[in-house]
Structure formats: C-alpha cells, structure tokens
C-alpha cells in the first residue's frame, strides 16, 4: 500500500496473472471471508427491510432529524480536523521518536479504544466539568464546556484520536526511513522531509486513519451523552437522536440509522477511491 509508483504499476500487471494472485490467497480463505462478509452485511439488510419507504423522506427531514444531522456533520468534521492536527504529530513522535517510555506512551494513547465510551465521558467530566481538574480555572476564565457543542467535539475527538494515530503510526513504521534519510542527505530540513517525502509516502494510511476517525466521531454516543448532554441543535447528535426516537417512534429510529449508515458508506467509499487510484 505504500509502494512507489513504479512497483504499483508492476503490481497492477501482476494482478492479471492468476498464479500470482493465488500465491498469497489460499482457497480456504474464501469461506470464512464470505461468512464474515455476511455477518456484517446481513444486519444492514435486516435494518433495510424494517424501513417504511413511503414515510422515509418525512422521517429523515423532520426538524429534529435535520438538526441532529447538521450537528453531527459539523461536529464530526471539526473533530476530524482536531484529530489530524494532534494525531499526525503524535503518530510521527511515536513512530520516529527515540526516547524511553515510548511503548508506555503508545499504550496510553490507545486507552480510549478499550475504555467504554460512557467511562470516557465520566473521565472528560472529571477533567473539563465544572468541578473537574481544569473545569474550575476554565469557569474563572468564563469558559463553560458542559452542555455546549464544544463538549460534543471534545468527546468525539477523545474517542476518535487513537484511530488516526494507530493507523498512521503503522504506515510510518512500515514505510521505513530510507527515503527520509536520502532526502535529508540531499539537504532537506526535517519539516521539508516530513511534508515532501514522509507524508506523501503514507498518504493511504493517513487517509484511512482520517476516515476511521471521522466515522468514529460520527457514530459517537456514550461519551457525548455522559459529558455533553442532549439538546436539539446544541448537543443532540444523530446517534443520540436515534436512541431517543427509539423510545417513541422505532420507525424513525430505523430510518435515521440507515441515514447514518449511508453517510458513513459514502464517506468511506469516496475516500478509499481516492486513496487507491
């Protein structure tokens, strides 16, 4: 995936040769792969069969649904940008840095992945809440985070950041430092090497990491409801709206879920298409 242009062309030629394909693809792999595919796709199909198509448009264009959709797209976009701004340097430091405690640091970066999101929300409250670690000084400075859209963005960034860091760090490690060293020996400074050599080489990893982060931010639920609350147009994102609608109108919940799935598929497919020309 990080092959330079010359070998990419060679690989494309190679895929036409059946013998070459079979070299890394044992026949038995198809069965579990198909089962796995069904496992993911069947629930989506089942969800689709629950949708009442006649009322679908009305359900997804209701005022509350529109407000939730707009809020979700806005917050997930901002969170993704924050993830890029913080996550790219984090991945570089973790992949290229030589210092004690790097493995421990990496383990901590991955904590939000295993933490139940509700616990993440509690942790964020303990940090940014009114009585939190930073909350009191923020209150003095006139910053109130709880129950605001900012809180939604903080929650989404917290849970999405590891996805970007982990996939970019993996790409950086497998790309190696050979090209960086060559560029540096030709007189390029570290920032130029990063911008002109390293990041272009790991572009697919960067893109997939960004997509993962965006998708995770878009689907964020537990940390948001614990940390940010739920108010239409302010903190009630699409997943929160879906969960609330389920109480009274399961049809609307299903319709909105499909909308969320559709957005995720479009974003992922679109980015993947650009990442692998």
């Amino acid at each position: 995936m990080t092959a330079p242009a010359t070998t990419r062309a060679a690989r494309r030629r190679a895929t036409r040769d059946p013998a070459e394909v079979a070299a890394g693809l044992p026949r038995w792999a198809f069965l579990p792969a198909a089962v796995g595919g069904l496992f993911v796709v069947l629930p989506l199909i089942a969800l689709g069969t629950r949708v009442d198509l006649t009322g679908y448009w009305g359900l997804v264009t209701s005022e509350s649904a529109r407000a939730a959709l707009v809020l979700s797209l806005r917050t997930a976009a901002v969170s993704t940008l924050l993830c890029l701004g913080l996550g790219v340097p984090m991945a570089i430091v973790l992949a290229r840095g030589r210092f004690r405690g790097r493995n421990l640091l990496r383990a901590f970066v991955l904590v939000p992945l295993v933490l139940p999101p509700v616990v993440g929300g509690v942790a964020l409250l303990a940090t940014f809440g009114r009585r939190g670690l930073l909350g009191e000084s923020m209150e003095v400075a006139g910053l109130q985070v709880a129950f605001s859209t900012t809180a939604v963005v903080i929650a989404q960034t917290f849970v999405a950041l590891p996805f970007l860091v982990i996939s970019l760090e993996g790409s950086l490690r497998s790309a190696g430092t050979r090209y960086d060293v060559v560029a540096a020996s030709l007189g390029a400074g570290p920032t130029t090497v990063l911008r002109r050599v390293t990041l272009p080489l790991v572009r697919p990893g960067l893109l997939s990491g960004t997509v993962l982060a965006f998708a995770r931010a878009l689907g964020e639920f537990g940390a948001t409801i614990t940390f940010a609350g739920s108010l239409q147009g302010v903190t009630r994102t699409l997943p929160l709206e879906i969960y609330l609608q389920r109480e009274t109108d399961p049809d609307a919940a299903v319709a909105l879920s499909l909308l969320l799935v559709a957005i995720a598929v479009v974003v992922i497919a679109g980015t993947h298409h650009r990442a692998t020309p």
């Binding site: 991955l110 996939s167 997939s208 409801i225 614990t226 739920s230 929160l240 692998t276």
Partner: protein, 258 residues
C-alpha cells in the same frame, strides 16, 4: 481497509479476543443453576434496589429458585419482550408501556404495585437556591430534565404545563438516571427526577418537594408473561411484590402506594 496495526497492537488484539471469549464462556456457565429453577424478572431501572431486596427475600423462601433481574428502561424491556426475550415477569415504570404489551397479548392482566412523583433535585447545599417549581424557570439556571419522549419527560411536561411555566433546560436527557448523574456531578444546578431517585442518591444530592408534582403521578404495574414455562412461580413472585413485606420494601425506598 488499509489500516496497518503494529505487531504489538495485533498481539494485544489477539489477547483481547481470547479474553472476551473467556468472559463469554464464564458468563454462559454461570447461567445454569445446580438443578434449580431460574425465574427471570424484567423490571424498570427505578425499581432496581426494591426488586433486588424482594428477589433476595424470595430466594430465601424458595431455596431452589434463582431470580435473575433484568433492569433497563421500561420501553427497552418491553421491546425485548416483544422480540421474544425469555422473561417470566415484567414490571414497568408506567402504564402506557405495559398497556402496549397487554394489547399484544404478551402479558397477563397487570396489577399496580407503586406510584412515583417528580421532585426537584439539586446538588448538596442547593447553590442556586431553588425552593419552588417556578424557580426552575429563572434565566441562567442550569436545569436538566428528561426528554419529552421518555416517561419522566412526559411527566415533566405535564407538571410544567399544569403550572403554566416554560422551562429552558440546558439538556433533555434520555433517562432519569442521566438527569441525576448531571446533578450529582455538579454540572447542573437543578434537575427534575422521581422522589425515589432523590432517596436513592443519598447525601450526594438534596431534594426539593413541590406541590404541583401531584399533576403527574406515575403508576408502576406488574404482570406475568403469557406462555411462561413457570406460570405458578411467576404468580408467586408477583404476590411477593404485592405482599405487605414487598410493599414495605417499596415504601422504604420512597415509593408511594398506587
């Protein structure tokens, strides 16, 4: 997916899978009792403490019976029962959820076990000085309530409408537990929850009673599930809840008589 995990992360992933598989296996093995009977009781989340006590007493009287409690929001439990969840008894936090199951023919005739009304909940010391329902309409007060879609929110709407007030909450939560959580965390200045929630939270919060709460009193019905393989035992559990001892447990936790 083109994400590449470092080897260490992959090893950690394998360990996680193994660990979760182990958890699943243990969870399954604890589901079986030694030749005894398991009675599954689904109860609204606000009934948790009461039903834990009643179930413990019931198990003492029936040594060969293991009572398993499933607690969640009433509508979540009702949806699970509609999907065929293996419950024997269901206790709901409102009559409308139970009525849906009655209409579907999924439960026997319900009996009322308790009632619950709203109360204002504030952090210890009542920093915002809330003393009446009208105070909740004060501008600048960080008020948290239940969303109108859930039972506690419907009760809130009824009470506030009856009093002719308009509230401007900073958050409309999914459940009464979420409202309580925002107040105990000190994030909200006030919230509207049930009397029993204030009792349950102990000294983490203070309660402020208000007379308008009489406009919306929730009734808790209980019923056995139609077609349960243990109808006699299910009936016995319902009787235990309705008995003097059962009512005393409910009253101790702040529930009113139905």
């Amino acid at each position: 997916m083109t994400a590449v995990l470092p080897r260490r992360a992959r090893a950690a992933g394998a360990a996680l899978v193994a660990a979760s598989a182990a958890v699943v296996v243990t969870a399954c093995s604890t589901g079986t009792t030694d030749g005894g009977t398991t009675l599954t009781v689904y109860a609204a989340a606000s009934l948790t403490e009461a039903f834990e006590q009643i179930a413990a007493d019931f198990e003492t009287e029936h040594p060969d019976v293991d009572v398993r409690l499933g607690v969640a929001g009433s509508s979540t439990l009702a949806a699970q029962i509609q999907q065929g969840a293996p419950a024997d008894v269901f206790a709901s936090a409102d009559t409308s959820t139970m009525d849906e199951l009655v209409a579907d023919g999924l439960v026997s005739t319900p009996q009322d076990i308790a009632a619950n009304a709203l109360e204002i909940v504030v952090p210890p010391g009542n920093p915002a000085g809330v003393s009446a329902l009208a105070d909740l309409a004060e501008p600048g007060l960080r008020l948290v309530v239940c969303a109108p879609e859930v039972p506690c929110g419907a009760a809130t709407t009824a009470v506030v409408g009856h009093a002719g007030l308009t509230l401007h909450p900073v958050s409309e939560e999914q459940s009464v537990t979420d409202v309580l959580g925002k107040v105990t965390a000190g994030e909200a200045d006030a919230g509207l929850v049930y009397v029993t929630d204030v009792a349950r939270a102990g000294d983490q919060v203070e309660g402020v009673m208000f007379r308008e709460s009489a406009a919306a009193v929730n009734t808790y019905p209980i019923a056995t599930i139609t077609g349960t393989p243990r109808p006699a035992l299910a009936d016995e559990f319902v009787d235990a809840v309705l008995s003097d001892d059962g009512r005393a447990v409910l009253a101790d936790l702040g529930f009113a008589a139905p």
